[in-house]
């Protein structure tokens, strides 16, 4: 028996690899398999390659890394697997191994470093937002579409129309609940969310307060580490996780509320991420246990604030990190149904990723674009007046392919309904 190609630091475990029985039930829901129809770009194929690497039969550099990189990490396979294979754990164990052992081409390394030097930092994102606004005013996007290489073109195409005022606005640190206090919660305001979708955070604060929650939003919070965790940058993920825990555990709250699917799923993973660290293990577990997606929390609370009618056909898009990673599918729907007048419709191929997948649409622009277009086609078949999804990544991605359908976070719809205005007006009043 040859030695494993993985190093000894948390490699994908033999036990988890053995769970896969090669039945193939994951193939139809895997976005890359749907695109290419190639075995090694399916969950079953990737697990097979991990298995071979663990047995030392293949090396990490080359095809192995290519196919691990090509995975969106959407976890649709976890939902569809009858054997209960924990592909999420396998991928999270494999990616850091690739990062440690496979040297990347210089341009690739720079691009990746660039992404991680920008996105997790609110101040840098704000600076980028100024540049972005200027760039859009000068009409540069049209020029960029012609001259930039694919990856940079993807980054510029994803850039939302930036409003400087909201990018720099800060959130109130404490909001008192309406009526009798039911809960005290802390809000994770996020990086991308706070700069590009600031109004989702203000709407979250208002809705939670209207539902009787006191909302604390600490100013000293940073990136939660989700982008790094999902890309195999373990060190970054661990450090950010520790900082986030330290910031939030000081607060005497019942729950930590998050309105970003990708962040929520990684906050819930902290217990696992820091399981090897005796100093942090218990603190991480306690932290993770308190985390709730905002729709999860709202679904737990019997609505007390009056909802005004919103006559609209609303399509709900399941963000992968909410549906597949956290199993939260019913809650956002039931929360939206508390609004009278809303006709809620599901999308065909709902389980298929929109191609956003954290930083994937910047690293792998071509497949991301195909998936974005496919999702857009599926959205159009149900002809919604409004598209609702609980993840800024999905919103950025879908806006690119569906500029004719207004898009909001579910909490913005609830906010509008409580205030008695049209959801699509929500952004104007900010």
């Amino acid at each position: 028996m040859t030695d494993s190609s993985f190093d000894a630091t948390n490699p994908p475990s033999r036990e988890l690899l053995n769970d896969c029985v090669h039945c193939g039930f994951c193939l139809p829901t895997c976005p890359t398999y749907q695109l290419w129809g190639e075995e090694m770009d399916s969950p079953r194929g990737r697990i097979y390659l991990m298995d071979l690497a663990e047995r030392g039969e293949i090396e990490l550099e080359g095809a192995f890394t290519e196919h691990i990189d090509a995975c969106l990490g959407c976890m649709a396979c976890v939902t569809s697997c009858p054997s209960g294979v924990q592909y999420d754990r396998l991928l999270e164990a494999t990616r850091p191994q690739v990062e440690r052992h496979v040297p990347r081409a210089r341009s690739d390394r720079w691009f990746r470093n660039g992404i991680f030097a920008l996105f997790p930092y609110r101040r840098r994102l704000r600076a980028a937002a100024i540049g972005g606004a200027l760039y859009q005013k000068l009409g540069l996007p049209a020029l960029a579409a012609r001259v930039l290489p694919p990856r940079l073109r993807a980054v510029q195409a994803l850039m939302p129309s930036v409003r400087i005022r909201s990018a720099f606005a800060s959130l109130p640190r404490r909001i008192r609940p309406t009526g009798t206090p039911r809960k005290r919660v802390a809000l994770l305001s996020g990086c991308v969310q706070d700069v590009f979708f600031h109004e989702v955070n203000t709407a979250t604060q208002r809705v939670l307060a209207a539902e009787g929650c006191e909302v604390l939003t600490p100013r000293d919070q940073g990136c939660c580490g989700a982008l790094g965790l999902h890309a195999g940058r373990e060190h970054h993920a661990r450090e950010q996780a520790k900082q986030t825990i330290a910031t939030f555990e000081k607060l005497p709250v019942d729950n930590i509320v998050v309105n970003v699917a990708g962040c929520g799923s990684s906050l819930k993973e902290y217990g696992h991420l820091l399981a090897d660290d005796p100093q942090w293990r218990e603190r991480a577990k306690a932290f993770s246990a308190k985390v709730r997606d905002v729709t999860e929390l709202l679904a737990e609370l019997e609505p007390q604030a009056e909802r005004h009618r919103v006559e609209a056909k609303v399509a709900y898009h399941d963000a992968c990190h909410l549906g597949h990673a956290q199993g939260i599918r019913e809650q956002p729907r039931s929360v939206l149904r508390t609004v009278p007048g809303i006709e809620l419709v599901d999308l065909p191929e709902a389980e298929l990723c929109c191609g956003s997948a954290g930083v994937y649409n910047m690293l792998n622009p071509e497949p991301a674009e195909e998936l974005g277009e496919r999702k857009a086609r599926n959205v159009r078949t149900v002809a919604p007046e409004l598209l609702v999804t609980a993840n800024p990544g999905c919103l950025l991605q879908l806006q690119r392919f569906l500029d004719d359908v207004p898009m909001l976070h579910p909490v913005q719809v609830i906010d509008a309904s409580i205030q008695g205005r049209l959801p699509t007006e929500a952004r104007m009043t900010e």
Partner: protein, 483 residues
Amino acid sequence: MLDHAAHKALVAAVGTENVISDPVQLRSYECDGLTGFRQIPSLVVLPRATEQVAQAVRACHRHHVPFVARGAGTGLSGGAMPVADGVVISLQRMRDVLDIDPVDRRAVLQPGVTNLDITTAAATHGLYYAPDPSSQQVCTIGGNIAENSGGAHCLKYGFTTNHVLSMTVVLPDGETVTLGSDSDEQLGPDLRGVVIGSEGTLGIVCDITVRLLRVPETVRTLLADFPSVTAAGEVVSDLIAAGIIPAAVEMMDNLAIQAAEKAVGAGYTLTTPAALVVELDGPEAECTAQFDEVRAICERHGCTRLHIAGTAAERAKIWKGRKAAFAAVGRISPDYIVQDGVVPRTRLAEVLNRIEDMGRDAGLRVANVFHAGDGNLHPLVLFDDDAGELERAEELSTDIAELCVELGGSLSGEHGIGTDKACSMPRMFGEADLSTMDRVRTAFDPQHLCNPGKLLPTPRLCGEQPGRYRPHPLEEAGVIERL
């Protein structure tokens, strides 16, 4: 290894972007759903059109290269396992529903369309495709034709062969022919029927026309628990004797119930020794009348709990549990082999008792999930490869299949013979039968290039022990070495 000319011809046939030749990538094609049998192919090609399939097959024929067609790779008999120095022709880039004709109730499909996608595409017209293998969400129509696949509802509606009207087949020399016709009455010898179920040994099926059925007016599903598999088996016999043809009658034993319940949470009783899923469909009045009869028969045999699915969602859940049962067994055992045999319905209880004894003797657990209505068993032999139980498990699994033959049944109900059971074929067929089959095969494929080594026994195959690589004794002794 392929010689240079053959490689070049294959690349020319499908285009560089549709060829896989990286050694690591090729490894992911070394087995299908039956992982005990492996062989790394020399090349994988993924044609995008029928003409490309024909070009690829012509190239193989000209250069004398063996080839194996592959759909979703979910087969459980090793039918899509590559052959040494051969090519895999994957149909996974031919996944379009070409046409739905709601008036004549037909669908035209490429071979890589999944079984369930046919129904999804037909649903807006109130139509569906009847055969429903448990892996229907992933298995393809091309693979269904190769295996003549069945499924839970085949008791009433028949197998794949009863639903395929015509198909374009690329023969082993690369010629493209159309077999069957789109009308219900087919003239002349049924060559379409010869190809269906031939496990990819007579050619590669491309454009396929299937029959669609109207979605039944009413569907009633019940889940009934019984104190023993024998009691449940008697219910099945009584149902058929009473002249009832249920859409489906499925049985699960306790181990299978535990696995399925863990995977899906369908509301099965975890402690019951056996359960039946009985489904009736058709006009409302007929369903209601028969349903009362079914209930009475269940009660007569000591049914301990009878649950009727109240909503479509609940019914879907019951079926999801049943259909996920194979893979769900992965939750209660590190490894397992799915066996597939048929016995006359009247001998169900007997065969189950014998299987239980054989399992005990071998020291292995056997879970049972099966299409009880037509006596199609799916015993699942549970084992742990790391504990060295593979060989014992394979032996037990083969013994079970051969027991089915001994009891007057068949080696395979619907999963096929493939690599797995080719050596057991002489148990069921005499020399004359086998040589006739071989003559048919040779008429289509004189060079024996099309999925060779599958379905029919060959001396080479049946003399060797397949499976994971084991060093030859001389190799262990250091006398010879592998290069």
